[in-house]
C-alpha cells in the first residue's frame, strides 16, 4: 500500500507539471487584461506601462519557467522560513498577484479558514445527512420516505444556488432577521458569544451547499445500498440471527461505502473551487470567490496558482480515494 501510494505520487509529478503547463497556455490565450478594472480615464500608455511593470512583456516560456521556480522552490522555502524563523527565501521574488501585488500564497492562506469553515463544513454536513437518507431510502425502497427523499434531492440538485441562497436571505435575514446575510470573515471565535455568532453566520451558506452536496451523494449511497442489500452475505448475516440494525449498519453499510467513498473523495476538490456562487451570495470570500475574482481581473499568477492547487487536490484526492478503497475493501491490495 505504501509503495503503491509513493509510486502514484511520483507518477503524479509529470502529470501535474503537464496540467500546469496546459493551464498556463490556456490562461495566456484567454482574452482579458489585468488593467480591465482601471477606469477608462487612465490613458492607454499608462496602462501599457503598468502592464510592463507586471512582467507581461517577457516571452511566455520565461514566464512559465519563472512561475515554476517561484512556486516550487521559493514558496516552499518561504514556508520553511515562516515555520522555523530561517531566512532562506530572503529577497527572492515570490509568486505575486497582479491584482493585489502581494504574494499569492499569503492570500490563499488568508482565505483558507472561511473556505474550510463554510465550504468544508457544508460538505461534511452534506455527507452526514446524505448517508442516513441514502441508507434508509434504500432499506425502505419505494416507501414514502424514499419517494420524498428522491424528490427533495432532485430539487436540491436542480435549483441553482444563486436562487436558493437569495431566497434564504430574503426569508431569514430580511423578513425574520435570524441570520446575517453577510459573512464576517474577520470574526475570531474566542468565547461562547463569538462562537454563537459564527454559527449564526454559517447556517445559511452551509445549508445551501449541504443541500446540493447531500442531493448527489444520497443518490449514490442509495444505489450502492440497493446493490448490496441483495447480496448473499446479507442473508448469511441474518441466518446468524443478527438484528436488522447490525445487518444493515455493519454488514451492508461497510460494503456500500466502498464506491461511495470514492464519490465523496473525488467531490472534495470540486467543492473547494466550485462553491463560487454560494460564496458570492453570502460574501464568504473563500477560495472560490478568490478564483472568480482573479479570473475576472485576469490575474494570471493567482489563477494559475489556484488552479494548480486544485489540480493537486484532484490528484491527491484521487489517490486518497484509491487508498481508502483499499482500506475498506480487503480484496483490493496495492503492492
Amino acid at each position: 500500500m505504501l509503495t503503491f501510494t509513493i509510486r502514484r505520487l511520483v507518477l503524479a509529478i509529470p502529470t501535474l507539471l503537464f496540467i500546469s503547463l496546459v493551464i498556463f497556455l490556456l490562461l495566456e490565450l484567454a482574452p482579458g487584461d489585468p488593467m480591465a478594472q482601471v477606469p477608462l480615464t487612465v490613458p492607454p500608455e499608462v496602462k501599457e506601462r503598468m502592464r510592463e511593470a507586471l512582467g507581461l512583456g517577457e516571452p511566455i516560456y520565461i514566464r512559465f519557467g519563472n512561475w515554476l521556480w517561484q512556486f516550487f522552490v521559493i514558496e516552499p522555502m518561504h514556508l520553511i522560513d515562516v515555520m522555523f524563523n530561517t531566512s532562506l527565501a530572503e529577497g527572492q521574488q515570490r509568486v505575486i498577484s497582479w491584482q493585489t501585488r502581494s504574494p499569492v500564497m499569503d492570500i490563499v492562506a488568508q482565505r483558507m479558514p472561511q473556505t474550510l469553515w463554510v465550504v468544508g463544513l457544508s460538505y461534511v454536513v452534506g455527507v452526514l445527512i446524505a448517508l442516513p437518507i441514502g441508507i434508509y431510502s434504500a432499506y425502505k425502497q419505494y416507501s414514502w420516505f424514499d419517494q420524498i427523499g428522491t424528490f427533495i434531492s432532485m430539487v436540491g440538485f436542480s435549483v441553482p444556488t444563486f436562487f436558493t441562497g437569495v431566497l434564504l436571505i430574503v426569508v431569514f435575514s430580511v423578513q425574520l432577521g435570524w441570520f446575517p446575510s453577510i459573512y464576517d470573515t474577520t470574526l475570531v471565535v474566542e468565547d461562547w458569544a463569538s462562537f454563537k455568532l459564527q454559527i449564526r453566520q454559517m447556517v445559511m451558506p452551509v445549508f445551501v451547499l449541504a443541500l446540493y452536496n447531500a442531493a448527489q451523494i444520497s443518490r449514490f449511497m442509495r444505489a450502492s445500498m440497493l446493490d448490496n442489500l441483495g447480496q448473499d452475505y446479507v442473508r448469511t448475516a441474518r441466518a446468524k440471527g443478527l438484528g436488522e440494525r447490525v445487518v444493515v449498519l455493519s454488514h451492508v453499510l461497510r460494503n456500500s461505502m466502498i464506491p461511495v467513498v470514492t464519490v465523496i473523495a473525488l467531490g472534495v476538490p470540486q467543492v473547494f473551487g466550485g462553491a463560487i456562487i454560494t460564496e458570492q451570495v453570502f460574501k464568504v470570500n473563500g477560495l472560490g470567490a478568490l478564483l472568480i475574482n482573479a479570473i475576472q481581473a485576469n490575474d494570471l499568477p493567482m489563477v494559475q496558482t489556484l488552479t494548480f492547487i486544485f489540480a493537486v487536490l484532484i490528484v491527491v484526492f484521487n489517490l486518497i480515494a484509491d487508498v481508502l478503497y483499499g482500506v475498506l475493501d480487503p480484496r483490493i491490495r496495492y503492492d
Binding site: I19, G32, V159, F162, F163, Q216, I292, V303, T307
Partner: protein
Amino acid sequence: MTETGPGTPEAIAALTDALPSSPPRSQWWDVWAQFRSHKGAMAGAMVFLIILLAVIFGPWLWHIDPGYIDIRARNQGPSLAHPFGTDQLGRDTMARMFAGGRITMAVGVTAMLLALFLGSFIGILAGYFRALDGLLMRLTDLFLALPLLPLMLVMVLLFRDPLSAAFGPEMGIFILMVSAIGITSWMPTARIVRSDVLALKEREFILAARSSGTTNSKMISRHILPNVMSPIMVSATLGIANAIITESALSFLGLGFPPDFPTWGRLLFDATDYLQQYPERVIWPGVAISVTVLTVNYIGDGLRDALDPRIRGR
C-alpha cells in the same frame, strides 16, 4: 444399477426444460413493457412529453413575440392578456417561458448527449485498451483541473466567428455552448464507465466473443456498450440538470446566447433580483427547471430498470 421402466410423458418432461408460458417478445417491446410498469417513469415521461410539446407548439398557440417590449405593461401580475405576467420591460413571461424552454431543452439535452458520448467513449477506450488507460485518465485529470471560465473565454475567442460564419450567429453560439458544456462535463461519466468496463472485461462472455473472432470495434459496440448503459443513464440524469445550470451561468457572464435570448436559467437569474416584489417571476422558471430535471431522473430510473434484462425478466 437401477432398472429403468418405460418412460411416461412426465418423465420426459423432467428432462426437457419447461417452456415458459408467455410468448417470446422483441427486446424493445420488453423494454417498453417494463418501462410502462414503472409508475414513476411513466409519470415522468408524460410530464416530460408535455413540457416538450409545450415548448415546441406553445409559440404557435401563444402568439406574443417573446422579445416584444410593451413598456406600458411592465411588471404586471398574471392576467388574461399575460397569464404568467410580464417582466420589467413588459415582455410577456409566458412567451418567454416557451421560447426559453426551447433553448434550454435543446441545450440541456444536446449538451448532455455530448457529455455522455465523450464520457462513454473515453471511459470505454480507457477501460478496454490497457495501453490507453493511463493516458486517458490523466487527460481526465487535466480536464477536471481546467478552470471553466478561462476555457470558455478561449473557446469563444477561437471559435465564435468561424462557427457563426458557418452556421449563422444563433446556431453558431448554440454549437459553441453545447460543445463547451459537453467538453467540460464528461469526466465523471468517463470515470464511472471506465471502472465498469474494467470489471466487464473480466467477464467470460467477453472472452467467449474474442475466441469466436470478434474484432475490437464489434466487441465494444456489441458487448461492452450495452452492458454499461446503467451508469450512463445516471450520468444522463445528472447531466441534464448540470447543463441547464451551466448554460444560465454562462449566458449571464456574457459567454452564451445574445442577451435578448431568454432561457430558463437566465429568466430565473434575472427574476432573482425581483424576488421580493414579484415572487411569481422566479416560480415559473424555477419550477420548469426542477420539474424537467425530476422527470428526467424518473425516466432514467425507469430506463435503467427496463434496460436490464435481469430486472426486466422479473
